[in-house]
Structures are given as structure tokens and as C-alpha cells.
Symmetry: C2
Subunit: 282 residues, 2 copies
């Protein structure tokens, strides 16, 4: 495991988000320039491992990777998608953005829509928000009764264990920004007409509930940090570090899988002869 | 319209694929190095226009773009996805790869699975193969009776007209390789263990039907080249030209839409005051 992964992975037990510095760069001692270069330098290996995984999936393999991105507004889920997930071939990536559930989705168990968005074998699935919203905003906004929220933590653990048993490596990241940094980013959106579309006055209502969200995150992190699917808290005030950290976690996951180019399931020499001896085709 | 688009767009009437040079670079007089640089230089504008379209979609807009990639095996659909579609933010892209239809898909009309894969407002949808397979392999392999194939050309035109009326710009590209170039690419796959997974002995059976496929493509191109959704035949023996050409067609489509950053639907000054005067949140 890389030193970044080592530094970001929760150790279990009580989680105190206020004690985790949002502006730090755990496990990395370089600066912005070197961190940006380090991410770019990762591209060839990341891209090759992703292609190997894809090839494996096309050849009967069942493994996949699921990257779960959670975080408050402006924590940089979109930026991570662009700068980190954007490094690999889009053909092998399936991104799902989870908004407020539709009426149909609400009529099912909370994991119904999640199940439908899981990556197929060989794919890198990315969740921009996820089933964790159902224990975060759902808890803060009391969208479900306390006993239902309570039930969901265990349901999530069972669900994720099943995915892992089925061959999915789950990389869970909470992008951790400070309230002060969020304020700066919201003000920046208000200063830039090309960013108005990202701003929603309702965001300030959620922001006013910051302590309740922090509490909800802490409980979720504590209850769903498992050996099968551990959590990483990624300090996200520094965008370059956030991108580098998620890239590193992805690379670690792919290295762990170590997918191999599938062997030929046909006779290579015979196929070459067929091509070399074929009748003219056009 | 760019000179490349101008050169690639069918003019209507009879299509004779044998007369279209697969190794040419219509509408472009540079070489490989300058063509590769030209594609890279397109990235900022392509990415910005795509983000504007995405922003529009998030703000109530209904427009989208659908890129349809068709072509024989090894014509470079995958390479185009990686090198051209890969230039824009993966968040705003939805790629659908159509394989042989499943039993469930076959139990519905051929457009059923296509409908479900259409891009949502603001998205760039990409079809790696498409509903055209239902008049290509379906015709060559007689997977449906002749009268059903016949029916489908008109059904496709009606379907695409409806999409266009609903705000989708359709960019249809046939990646046109020669049989000789396909042979080289298949041999290259057989020479490279990292490419065995892309090779399927059945590909040679399809290859043996090259003239029938050419005929099927010609009929499809003739029957479904419409003002609403015109076809482009992209010479694809030169990979750099193929990538540049599809990038240019995408850029043209986005420029044509000319999406604008959505105006604020809230009081910017009032929101700034709310943030500046808020109680401490954490």
C-alpha cells in the first residue's frame, strides 16, 4: 500500500473529523507542482492497468472496481472525476451521479437504484454521491425514521460485502473540506458567471447544518468502515492533493488486482495462416 | 462548417464506398504530426463547449449530442473513444457499446434498447455500434426477414427525426477502412499478446463477407442520410486523421449549438450577503 493510502485509511474506532486537517497532504511531502506532476506521471500505469482489467472482463473475468466519492458541496467530486478519473480510457468507465431519488426510486429499497448502477465486470464504476446519501442527508433531514437509518448501516455493510465477494474492489473516499474553504468556493462561484450554474441557494441551507452533517459523516464512517470496504478521508482543501490522493488509491486498487492480459483462447498460428492464405475479400 | 466536415458529409444519392479512398485525409492538408497537434489544440474549446452544454442541461435545457460510430472490426471505434471522446470531461459523456442483443432485447423492437441508451439533456452520448447493426449484420446474416430490414430504414429515419426535434444533435460517422488495412490490423493483434483479447476467430468469418457488408453499408448510408441526421464517411486507415476528423465533427456540432453559460436564477448579490453575514457554521 502506498504511503498516501496508508495515511488516509481510517484505522477503525471513533472518527473525529474536526481533528483531521483538511488542508494537509498526508503521506506526501512534495508541493503542488510535484504533486501535479506525480499525478500526470501515474497516467500510463493507471491506463494500462485499467485496460488490462477491461480486457479481463471481456474474457470472462468477473472483477471490477467501484470508486465511491462522497463529500459536502464544493468538496471536489466533479474535479476529481475530471482530473483523475479522466486519466483512463472513458470506454472502461461508468460514472453514476446520484441526485435526490425519483418517485420510482423512492418506492424501492434505497439500494435498488445503486444495484442498477454497479459496474459490469472489467469496468471502473464511479459513484458521484452514492448509497451513503441515504444515511447522510437522510439522517440530517430526517427523510427516514431513525430505526430505518439505523438499519441501513448494516444493510450497506452486507451489500458491500456481497459486492466484494463477487469480485468488486471498493474504494471509498470522503472528500473532506473545511467550512471555511467551502465558503471561499461558494463565494468564488458567485464571482464567476461561468459558475453560476453550479450554485444553488439551497446549498446554504445545507451549509447551515454543517455540524449535523459532520456528525452524520462521522457515524457513517464509523459504522461502515469494514475490512472488505474501508474508508479513506481525503483532505480536500488542496485540489492537487485531492486529485493525487484519489489517483493513488485507484492505482493501489488496480495494482492489487494485478490484472493480466488474457491468453489467447484460439490457435494464434492457425489464425495467422487463415489470414495469410485467405481468398481476396474485396 | 469546417472543411473536414464539408468533405466527409455525404451529398445524397448513390454511395459507392469503393470509390472513397480509405487512406486519404479529405479537407485537411497537414501531415500526421500537424494533425495530431491540431486535435490536441482542439481540447480547450471542445471541453469548454461540452461543459457549457452540460451546464445548460443542468439548468433546464433539453439539448444533447449523440455521436454514432459505425465501422467494420478494427476500424477504430475504440481508438476514437479513447483519443477523441477522451478529450472532454467524462462526467458529461455517456458511452454505450452495443453487442449482439440479449434475449430480452430481442423480444422488443430493435429500437427499444437504443431508446434506453439515449443521452440525457446536456450530455454527449456516444454509441459504439448502434441501431445501424440492425440493418447491417442483420441484413448480411439474415437475422430478420427482408421486409423487416426494409421497414427499419424508415423506422430509423423517423426515430432520428424525433430525436432531433427533441433537441439532440446527431453526428453519424462511418469509419471506413480498407480490407487490406483490416488485414494488417488483425495480423498486428495476432502478433501482440496484449491484443489477443481483441481478436475473435469469428471476426474472420465476418471479414469473408466483406462485399456483403459493403453493400449493406451502402444501402444503409443511402437510405438514412437525411437532412436531420446526415452521414459522414471518415477514411480511417490513418488513425490520426480519423481522430482529427471525428474531433472536428464533434466540435462543429457543439459550435453549432453554441451553448451559453446559464444566467443566475437567484439574486447573486443577496446570496453573497448571506454568505458574508452568516453565523459561524463550524
Amino acid at each position: 500500500m502506498s504511503s498516501i493510502a496508508d495515511a488516509l485509511r481510517l484505522t477503525g474506532g471513533t472518527v473525529d473529523l474536526a481533528s483531521i486537517d483538511t488542508d494537509a497532504a498526508p503521506g506526501y511531502d512534495g508541493d503542488k507542482a510535484s504533486g501535479t506532476a506525480a499525478l500526470a506521471a501515474m497516467e500510463p500505469e493507471l491506463a494500462e492497468l485499467q485496460e488490462r482489467l477491461f480486457a479481463e472482463g471481456r474474457s470472462g473475468g468477473e472483477r471490477s472496481v467501484l470508486l465511491v466519492l462522497q463529500g459536502m458541496d464544493t468538496s471536489g467530486k466533479g474535479g476529481t472525476l475530471r482530473h483523475t478519473v479522466g486519466l483512463v480510457d472513458p470506454q472502461g468507465v461508468r460514472i453514476s451521479s446520484f441526485k435526490a431519488p425519483t418517485e420510482e426510486e423512492r418506492s424501492h429499497d434505497f439500494l435498488w437504484r445503486i444495484e442498477r448502477a454497479l459496474p459490469e465486470p472489467g469496468y471502473l464504476g464511479v459513484f458521484d454521491r452514492s448509497h451513503y446519501e441515504d444515511v447522510l442527508i437522510a439522517r440530517v433531514r430526517e427523510l427516514a425514521p431513525p430505526e430505518e437509518i439505523e438499519r441501513r448501516y448494516d444493510a450497506i455493510n452486507d451489500f458491500e460485502q456481497r459486492l466484494v465477494d463477487g469480485g468488486t474492489t471498493i474504494v471509498k473516499c470522503m472528500l473532506h473540506v473545511s467550512a471555511a474553504e467551502q465558503r471561499e468556493r461558494l463565494l468564488a462561484r458567485l464571482d464567476d458567471p461561468t459558475k453560476f450554474w453550479k450554485y444553488n441557494p439551497g446549498d446554504l441551507d445545507e451549509r447551515a447544518l454543517w455540524p449535523a452533517y459532520r456528525e452524520a459523516y462521522q457515524v457513517a464512517l464509523e459504522r461502515t468502515h469494514t475490512e472488505a470496504a474501508p474508508w479513506h478521508v481525503v483532505p480536500a482543501d488542496k485540489k492537487w492533493y485531492r486529485n493525487l490522493a484519489v489517483g493513488t488509491l485507484l492505482l493501489d486498487a488496480l495494482r492489487g488486482l494485478d490484472p493480466q492480459w488474457p491468453a489467447a483462447d484460439f490457435d494464434v498460428a492457425a489464425e495467422r495462416r487463415r489470414l495469410e492464405q485467405e481468398e481476396p475479400v474485396a
